[in-house]
Symmetry: C2
Amino acid sequence: MTNETDQATTVPARRVTSADVAKASGVSRATVSYVLNDVPGRAISEATRALVLRTASELGHVPFAPARSLRLGRSDIVLALVRDFAIGFVSNRLLKRLDVALAERGYVMLVHRFDDSLRSMSELWGLVSPALVVAMGGLAVTDEAASHFSSTKLMRVHGIVPHAKAGEMQAQYLYDRGHRVLGYAFPSTASLELIASERLAGVRRACERLGLEPPVVCNVDPDNPETVFDALDAWAAAPEKVTAVASHNDEIAIMLTAGLAARGLTAGKDLAVIGVDNIPSARINLTTVEIDIDAWGDAIVDNVLALLDNKEPEPIATDFLRLIVRDTA
Amino acid sequence: MTNETDQATTVPARRVTSADVAKASGVSRATVSYVLNDVPGRAISEATRALVLRTASELGHVPFAPARSLRLGRSDIVLALVRDFAIGFVSNRLLKRLDVALAERGYVMLVHRFDDSLRSMSELWGLVSPALVVAMGGLAVTDEAASHFSSTKLMRVHGIVPHAKAGEMQAQYLYDRGHRVLGYAFPSTASLELIASERLAGVRRACERLGLEPPVVCNVDPDNPETVFDALDAWAAAPEKVTAVASHNDEIAIMLTAGLAARGLTAGKDLAVIGVDNIPSARINLTTVEIDIDAWGDAIVDNVLALLDNKEPEPIATDFLRLIVRDTA
DNA sequence: TTGTAGGCGTTATCAA
DNA sequence: TTGATAACGCCTACAA
């Protein structure tokens, strides 16, 4: 039994290292490194440069990132932690923005679904050692867990958008329009719980301040449209009939308007509905509280880049929220 | 100016290595490694073990993944390449499934939005050297680009679900229901283009086989509901009035039914609509072609694990598609 | 039960 | 213009 066969069960061929390239080219490892990394200071003869590049390509040399990172003492990975891959329009836009900004600076952004029931922070650490961690909204990173970041930097996205304020704005607007009995559409999705309870708390606070009863809260599961009809029924059957509903987000608000339509009713006439986010499909007729993605994204990108540069991040002042009045409330 | 201050602009403190832990504990580096990695064969006294663990925690030691990977000659990172973070319900489910399966085997799954206008494969390689790459559907990885994977393994998700077949099933069903002039709702989203054109090709092929005119194709942008109404108008105004529409996916199909409702029309009565995917919100009333996520996911997980184990992956036979008849067609 | 020593692939430093 | 050498932090065969 030889090792020459190329069967799938054979141990894969040894990695082609830069030393192999050096040997095959008849130059030193250092020269290979200079050529491959286009090191500015060094002047390499065109002949040597071409030879090295050709040899590397012929041998199929690919750099081994861990070796590079070990030598450099750092990795260029930025790890974005999410609770769920289905993260919503607004967060997706933020991720993309971050991704582009980081790529321009030579970093790679990698997204990981962090589930502490599946793996602890310290385990994750043995597998990836990023230059920086971005914990996306919806994910609560405890200080204890954060301690595993050690020399690494952490940026928490959660807490930057004032979600309670969004809820307050919803309730205040509905009150201003004359509504005195409010409902609240709360998402069943586990990954939204953190944000959703903040928004609901804002609505509750506003109701208290305005002298209203607390909102009639109904759970709506975006994955199960039946729950929309149950919610509509519950609001209609409440002791004091609910005349306006604040919805956790636009997606659910749109489901509510669709549910009303299916019953021959109209959002904004038979029941006021207001959302949060201003997603594209809300832009036809949904009254909502917009999150200014551009401003929010810029602020977060600035902060992330500052952290990577060991600079003091700017405190973020703006609240990124704006009421947009359309037809549904 | 001393180096003792802890300002943010100061160069971060030197990494705490396992050697530091060894010195502080008064044991050897080997012992520290054994304790930290829970190496089975070695018997370490309880006292030593506790001491090492306490010291490591006090010093704030966190392992440096690149060093580990260099020593081991491999990383435990599985890189999933996507074209866009907004990847859709079905793909999100697949990612989660893969993630869980890989975590059980000690790998981390990291998702990267690969954009070849932003960075080449070989650049990506200098930054991450994963054990395996999974190219998600919607992303075409050329053989040239794949050559950069070198010793690394590549699994292409695209091509496993027979998208053309899905289109054929849509057209065949509409034909069987008596429709002779078909429309097609094509998504404007760039990241869907690859899959969408396959599905459309299937519809075209079926039309040809059945002796129908090619479908009247209209673009629908999920981010812009206006395009829904334009499409409905175009189908109504076609030389031969379109009586049934095959939609790229359920999301767009649902937008179409909503658009019809907004005009006082009913999907399934005034215009037949059929989708693909069977997403949750389609399950009320949408006729669609279901992709069996469980079977599909299992097949992909099996293949990925086989590749990681250097085994020959099983060829995937099933086609994972099933027609589900509801109200809209 | 613990220690010693060597090497993984890369790059910075210094020397030629 | 190029080469030799020494680290980076971690793991493990072998020795004690």
